[in-house]
Amino acid sequence: MAKSVLIVDDSSTMRKIVSRSLRQAGLDFGDIFEAGDGQQAIDFLADQKVDIILSDINMPNMNGLDFLRAKSEIPDIKDIPVVIISTEGGADIIGEATTLGAKGSIKKPFTADTVEEVLGPLL
């Protein structure tokens, strides 16, 4: 059965690039949804569930780390896996995201092969 995904990024360009990479990765994705920041993602997930979430870290309104914190407090969505896609440098940022529940990370720039390697085991 095709999986659904939510892409969370304030850049419409990056949402399109991630969406393209998901299609090219050869994974079985059906619906690909988009949100412009963490709060939009939380609001979206109140009505629509997805199988996996890809999120940037550096976003206005609610950044990726705050999104992870907020998501972990909501029983209906706390177990949806989140993969961070970011330029944010250093193991400390990714480490904090992992502590907050992220299941993996992809560093920009990335290829479809990288997307497949990280997401495949989580689906």
Binding site: S12, N58, T87
Partner: protein
């Protein structure tokens, strides 16, 4: 042993080529700044501040035609429907990604860094003024894009084996 400026140039070249190849399937190669054509038409620009571990500003300049072509690739042929905002978003994402890639290449492993949020704009090529450090590139064999940076000599104080 590779000279310091050689390492810095190599890191920037790699960051730019990787970023444009991954994001837009575009081949971007270094150009000789002495002979590369200076862009005269409208330029989109994006500026990004590095806050840590050094304080620097990096700017990316791209001809409007080149940005539009990239948008066609990314937005699957809908570029004509995209306004200036979407093109500014594109160049902002490019500079954010390539600077992150550049710092990841030159800093020691696991050394974190902090970036600001990109600022963008549109200008005439004739108004272009470069910082101390600049690199010229040619995209897909036809368009010149330019990167320029300030204060990269601050890398000296990081105590890495990378010294300018």
């Amino acid at each position: 042993m590779t000279e310091p400026m050689g390492k810095l140039n190599a890191a920037m070249h790699l960051a730019v080529s990787d970023t444009f190849a991954s994001m837009a399937f575009m081949d971007v190669v270094p150009a000789d700044k002495a002979t590369a054509p200076r862009p005269e038409e409208n330029l989109f620009w994006a500026s990004l501040l590095i806050h840590d571990p050094i304080q620097s500003e990096i700017r990316l300049y791209m001809p409007e035609e080149l940005i539009t072509g990239m948008a066609e690739t990314i937005y699957s042929g809908l570029a004509d429907e995209l306004g200036e905002g979407a093109k500014k978003d594109l160049i902002a994402e490019l500079v954010n990604t390539l600077v992150g890639r550049f710092l990841g290449e030159i800093l020691p492993p696991n050394r974190s860094f902090q970036l600001g949020l990109p600022e963008t704009g549109l200008m005439k090529g004739a108004e272009l003024a470069l910082f101390d450090q600049s690199w010229h590139f040619v995209a897909d064999g036809r368009s010149t894009l330019i990167l320029t940076a300030t204060e990269l000599n601050q890398l000296q104080r990081l105590g890495t084996d990378f010294v300018i």
